[in-house]
């Protein structure tokens, strides 16, 4: 029976309801949208998290580099202090120890406590107990920068000083000394002797940068968000080409549901950047983009130029590496359109597909490697949301919008 029934149903079929395809299409669209959102939000979320982490971090290694440098300079200017052994740091020989924020001791105690902690090893004698050596009367204000006891606080608030001092009482000062002697002192010596040439992004500076890279359209479909209806004749006049040919006719128009497939612009940018107080970055410059649009499997090339204005904040991850999230607004205008790029332009129609103005909002995450005090290289992943005028339909100029993902390489020269 099997074979016979199989044969019976072999050519059996039925035309499905059109709603089935609509359901499939809707499901595929939803999936694509989710996928796109995932790829937009994943790097975006990562960037935000990194930025938040850097902002919230009370004492990052990058932040400690500038004070270390300043302190090292102070050492050079204060031979007396060095003579007294305050800053020189050979282990087990120096009686007095300074604990900067960046030492390994900060792992054991809070940064605030350690920052205010100075004590003299010489004040500890065998006969003294720990409690007497670190007694409260030894705590005085350090407004004049003098060391008047085993603990020196730089705060003006005596009440706070007491609490700080109480906080800073080590449970076992000898153990603390031991740990300081071996690891932290060598760390101090290393930090102080480093000749850090790379610029701290938080230090005010002017720079010039050149950037090149590419964009990839986040999706293949441009979405219509507004349109103005104009007669076909007017649209043709507007394009300004006597050789304007079909498919731009009233019966064969491009609509917002047509696919202008992947746009892959190459991007060049020349900018001047000013880094102000607290690492805030202000930038502005020129954009130049070459863009390939694929329509009906044919390529058309366009070029646009414009300006950008941006704002961001720089974070030093290490003496040589910094991270700068930047928000940029771009204005671009298509400078080659219509018949502007033969023979790559298949027809006047396709060349006329993009024209007019483009506005975009862009988020960059510049990860820079500072070669030296003058030159830096950076890599900048970016996302861009843009809207542009287009003339692809008999409806006249319309506004379209889309997401792009980008990756750029840059070189920066500090003045």
């Amino acid at each position: 029976m099997t074979n016979k029934l199989n044969t019976k149903f072999e050519d059996f079929g039925s035309i499905p309801n059109p709603e089935v395809w609509e359901g499939i299409e809707a499901s595929l669209d939803t999936r694509r949208r989710k996928k796109r959102l995932f790829w937009i939000f994943l790097p975006g979320s990562a960037a935000v998290l990194i930025a938040l982490f850097l902002v919230m971090l009370p004492s990052s290694p990058g932040k400690s580099s500038a004070p270390a440098k300043i302190q090292a300079q102070e050492n050079e200017k204060s031979p007396e202090k060095e003579k007294d052994g305050i800053y020189a740091a050979p282990a087990n020989k120096d009686p007095e120890i300074d604990f900067p924020v960046s030492t390994s001791v900060s792992k054991k105690r809070s940064a605030r406590t350690v920052n205010s902690l100075k004590f003299s090893a010489s004040t500890l004698s065998d006969s003294q107990t720990a409690s007497s050596a670190f007694s409260l009367p030894g705590i005085v204000s350090n407004e004049n920068g003098t060391n008047e006891g085993p603990f020196v606080s730089k705060s003006n608030d005596p009440e706070n000083d007491l609490s700080l001092a109480a906080d800073s009482l080590p449970e076992n000062p000898v153990a603390l000394l031991d740990s300081a002697n071996d690891s932290s002192l060598s760390e101090i010596t290393r930090v102080k002797t480093d000749n850090v040439e790379a610029p701290d992004p938080r230090v005010s500076a002017w720079a010039f940068s050149l950037q090149a890279g590419g964009w990839d359209a986040a999706n293949n479909r441009n979405q219509l968000i507004s349109s103005t209806t104009v007669p076909v004749s007017e649209a043709l006049t507007d394009v300004g080409s006597s050789s304007f040919v079909p498919p731009l006719t009233s019966s064969n128009s491009v609509t917002d549901t047509d696919t202008i497939s992947v746009l892959k612009p190459l991007s060049l940018r020349a900018n001047v950047t000013f880094t102000g107080k607290k690492g805030f970055v202000y930038t502005g410059g020129l954009n130049f983009d070459q863009m390939d649009a694929f329509y009906n499997e044919k390529r058309t090339r366009f070029m646009s130029a414009g300006i950008n204005l941006g704002f961001g904040k720089g974070f030093a991850l290490s003496p040589r590496i910094s991270l700068t999230p930047l928000v940029t607004l771009n204005y671009d205008r298509f400078i080659l359109e219509k018949n502007g790029a033969p023979p790559l332009t298949p027809s006047a129609y396709q060349a006329a597909s993009f024209r007019g103005n483009q506005f975009s909002f862009q988020l960059d995450l510049q990860a820079a490697f500072h070669l030296n005090s003058k030159h830096s290289l950076y890599l900048a992943p970016a996302v861009k949301y843009y809207a542009y005028q287009s003339l692809t339909t008999v409806n006249g100029p319309i506004l379209r919008r889309d997401w792009w993902n980008g990756l750029h390489l840059g070189w920066k020269y500090n003045f």
Binding site: M1, F12, G13, S14, I15, V20, G23, I24, L28, N220
Partner: protein, 182 residues
């Protein structure tokens, strides 16, 4: 067309759907109790086809691959439904006039036969389709549906018994009545 489908070109996807949906709806109708369920199954199957098209190797016929995807949807649906209800197995023999039933089923009009298959309970319907029409063996059916081979055999027997009862009611048979209370 396949390459375009893999690039998520909607026109190509629609063309693929247009070519195979007619045949696949026929398959779905056999595994469903009504047209609405069949179209739901068809929709689910094609969504899965587009999502897994990259797994298709250009070795066999695309139609056969799509059919396999559809059957996998059927299996999955059955397995998930099976978890919700306890299967009550009746391993009993029905004394039927086997050859007579086969002859009548083969002689039935296609729409009439389809209607009767659709009236079968889900488990019976799936096993009957897989065994009698697709040519699966009971071991394979059991593996795919996550049941015992004996269960597959008994469900097939019960499906035949139910079909026979329907035919008796319509006057095709004049012999003993079969109790098919579940």
């Amino acid at each position: 067309m396949l390459k375009a489908c893999l690039k998520n070109k909607r026109e190509a996807q629609k063309e693929l759907y247009r070519r195979f949906s007619y045949m696949m709806k026929g398959v779905c109708l056999r595994y469903s109790s009504n047209t609405s369920d069949a179209e739901d199954l068809l929709q689910e199957s094609f969504i899965r086809v587009f999502q897994n098209l990259h797994k298709y190797k250009d070795e066999g016929k695309l139609g056969a691959w799509i059919r396999t995807v559809t059957l996998n949807c059927v299996f999955e649906k059955y397995r998930s439904a099976k978890k919700d209800k306890e299967s009550v197995l009746y391993v009993e023999e029905y004394f039927e006039k086997a050859q007579e039933l086969d002859d009548i089923l083969e002689a039935l009009a296609l729409e009439d036969l389809l209607q009767k298959i659709q009236r079968l309970p889900e488990g019976y319907r799936i096993v009957f389709n897989l065994f009698a029409i697709e040519g699966y063996q009971h071991d394979e059916i059991a593996q795919q549906l996550g049941i015992q081979p004996g269960t597959s055999k008994s469900q097939y027997s019960r499906a035949r018994a139910l079909l026979r009862e329907m035919l008796i009611k319509e006057g095709y048979f004049h012999s003993n009545t079969v109790n098919y209370d579940k």
